[in-house]
Assembly symmetry: C2
Homo-oligomer: 191 residues x 2
């Protein structure tokens, strides 16, 4: 068995995840057969499942990667910016793919208690990133001061969930900029 | 065949709809078998399907009735009040049942083009009720005047869809009052 450096392993893992993400995006979870995963990733099933136990593990790795990236974006740019990116690029393959994995995660949260427990940490990381950023924004004097951070965070999350639902229904979100401006200004200091 | 007055027919129809609504609420669309519909409604399948062609027609009649009622509530009390009622009574059988039929309608909108076309009028009636009420509120001087009614309406709809998603995920919505206050004040005249 050839020795592979940890760096190499990591880059191979990322390569597999990128291909798998594209394949799940294009065909959905059910439609992403092992054959299609092989074609999209450009590796044999042996090579793929050396790194990920099975298709389900591969899907979860994609979804976890998405969740980590989202927490990062929220921490840096805020939840409203995530919403703007989603609304502007709702027809891009990246967003379609991301949305597909979100919906599959939602489905599992409803139907699979074990998954729902395991996913708690991911949800918590994103929720915490939202609250941390709001706290920093308030310290910088950018936010309204008459409501607790928790209320502002839940308000943003409500709008975010509405947007995801709208995207999932295939609605046109191109004209949503003034609506997202309203969402943003509702948490900001006025005047 | 006995003659039945139109009033009697109408009251019988409403009786069937009430029982069917409770049955769909309790068992879901799939689980509401004809047997269970008979038990809940208290009439034989012959009597039920004299008024409604089949189970699907019965479900659609319940969903249409819900849509008409929602348009009425929106016209009289506004979309924010609909949201407050949903959040406050999210565990009541009425709301659970209503939500169940909403989710079944959403599923069909995604998967059934013919249904989606037929449902356009219902969606339009609710959307129009929202805009008409906002227009009246603006005329009464209660709303902010710097944004078009369309933007205010879409903002409320985004929050509404977020709430429905949250309810569908079984989330606790008891603490949402201050968040819904934020939603309402975002469309109102400030100061």
């Amino acid at each position: 068995m050839p020795r592979v450096s940890p760096e190499r392993l990591n880059s191979r893992r990322r390569e597999i995840l990128a291909g798998a993400r594209a394949c799940f995006a294009r065909h959905g979870y059910e439609g992403a057969t092992v054959r299609r995963l092989e074609e999209q990733i450009g590796l044999s099933r042996g090579a793929i499942f050396h790194h990920f136990r099975d298709k389900d593990s591969l899907f979860l790795a994609v979804a976890e990667d998405d969740a980590v990236q989202m927490a990062d974006t929220v921490a840096t740019h805020g939840l409203v910016q995530v919403m703007r990116d989603l609304a502007d690029e709702s027809n891009s393959p990246e967003i379609t793919g991301w949305l597909g994995s979100q919906l599959e995660v939602s489905r599992r949260l409803r139907t699979d208690e074990e998954f729902a427990r395991a996913w708690e940490d991911r949800k918590h990381a994103i929720a915490q990133a939202t609250r941390d950023r709001l706290t920093r924004q308030r310290e910088a004097g950018a936010l309204r001061t008459d409501l607790p951070i928790e209320v502002l965070a839940q308000f943003l999350e409500l709008a975010y969930e509405g947007l995801i639902t709208r995207l999932a229904m295939g609605a046109d979100t191109a004209d949503l900029t003034p609506v997202l401006d309203m969402v943003e200004s509702a948490v900001r200091r006025t005047g």
